[in-house]
Symmetry: C2
Subunit: 301 residues, 2 copies
């Protein structure tokens, strides 16, 4: 029951309304893997540059993440993102984004990962997503994420990805951008018509909408006023959700709702610190405790 994940491993510089950090560990695949590893063994495929510290790799390995698929490119530095959040984290702006060849990178899935049952195509270019998928040996379930940059610049390739994935995770503004549909219920259904039978629209502090065949499951966020840095909330939501699903014998309604709840709860820990600090500080028992609290809030007994 292993989970293969591909995506960005990066340095982030973050400015929030009250604090800031320079060159901390970030990247969608990093957050995803770290959250997923609470639930299932994760094999990570990605690329880092010559500036990537071994201590960061060790942090991931200590959580049981297999880094055999992470190559180090000594010709350049790592992916770098510099972002700033506005008042109350309502919006964020990208001040700088250095792909450093990430868009031209050709992923190589190590032999021992090729038979992974579940595959997560993180927010890499659609080309990288398709190259990853081409190497895999008929995975049972394929999840994907995408971001505004690829919707803008690689729409046709993204359509090819969508035709081949079972579940797309996407945030609200990007769902609107992808479908030219302001209403999120319509946007979700339009994405389903592009291929995935499941779609998760992530709405940040407002929770998520999960589309499964003809049904929609809305889920609020776990209410918290202790937001230090929202970066990675959506990626760790995806990691916990998919990590949990990886170990389930079948994906029925109850299991899918549990997965959404785990995603919601783990994301609420992520926003409590910079980088993966909020997740480093907890154990599975903390996740279970907050999940019970969340279920009580929803009236699920």
């Amino acid at each position: 029951m292993s989970l293969l994940a591909v995506g960005t491993i990066a340095f982030d510089s973050i400015e929030t309304p009250t604090d800031s950090r320079i060159r901390i560990m970030g990247g969608s695949a990093t957050y995803f893997s770290y959250a997923a590893a609470f639930f299932a063994p994760v094999s990570l495929v990605g690329i880092v540059g010559k500036d990537w510290p071994d201590s960061y790799s060790r942090l991931l390995e200590e959580r049981g993440i297999d880094l055999a698929g992470v190559v180090r490119d000594l010709s350049q530095d790592s992916y770098f993102w510099h972002g700033r959040y506005t008042i109350n984290f309502q919006d964020r702006e990208t001040l700088e984004c250095q792909l450093r060849g990430f868009d031209k990178w050709v992923p190589i899935v190590p032999e021992q990962f090729l038979r992974s049952r579940f595959v997560f195509l993180g927010a890499a270019s659609p080309t990288v997503q398709l190259q990853t998928l081409a190497q895999c040996n008929l995975p049972e379930f394929v999840f994907a994420d995408t971001v505004d940059m690829w919707i803008e610049t690689a729409g046709d390739d993204l359509r090819c990805v969508l035709a081949r994935v079972n579940c797309l995770l996407i945030n609200d503004s990007e769902a609107r951008q992808l479908t030219s549909e302001q209403d999120l219920v319509r946007a979700g259904r339009k994405i389903q018509a592009m291929g995935p039978t499941m779609v998760v629209i992530k709405k940040g502090e407002h929770g998520s909408l999960f589309f499964h065949e003809g049904s929609i499951f809305p889920c609020p966020a776990f209410p918290t006023d202790r937001i230090v840095d929202p970066t990675g909330a959506g990626d760790s939501f995806a990691g916990a959700m998919i990590g949990y699903l990886t170990c389930q014998p079948k994906l029925d309604r109850r299991v899918l709702l549990n997965a959404i709840h785990y995603g919601t709860v783990v994301a609420s820990f992520t926003v409590g610190g910079f980088s993966i600090e909020g997740l480093e500080a907890i154990e599975m028992s903390d996740i279970e405790e907050r999940r019970t609290e969340f279920r009580n809030m929803l009236g699920v007994d």
Copy 2:
């Protein structure tokens, strides 16, 4: 088990991105009463002008709403609101609001309503809210709503109201305005510190946050893409929630969550038509059916 409601009874002219209506029945107390009357007998206290048609009053009476407390002021026309919704109903602007003496009106609660167990002080001026309360004979539970206009112009009186109510219902932007707090979790707690042990922050398409003593219960909206006119959604949410509570022997966690679910579901019918059309078209069985669907969506069995 009767419910006394005071608030605006009005004409609305509405412009949506796709349609419009001129001088249809509106007003916070109108929506509130119509929704509450599915669950409990409602006694309405309000004022209408010389232009108010008997047919509108009959619509309310046919639903079992007692209008003995509604006076007709033959010296002027009724309260009038003209609003416009922007693309996808994300925002609305007030183009015209004619109070027509509503802010100077002195409410008179009829003798037979004075012992109402539950009282809802709709979004009238704090003066009207306090005058209503002064006449009531120790109601068991007092709910109130308010809007930006009163927060801006009558803050001190509003504080007096808050000190005397058990539950405030307020929308997200107004909760921020009232507390000078951008974070809604903090805003809700600040409002609790002003008096009400219960606070409901209504977030429109994103659902609600219900604060009860030390707990918070987040609830998503019922997902729908059939939005004709969102006017009155919050008022009918309040009506269904409080109407349901009026008939319950005690207000424990399960009953309070049921109340939020009824509010959510009834609001989703309201937005399906202009004025009260969405509620006129349904019966209690439709509400129960959608509530079951909503509970399934949340995983509450």
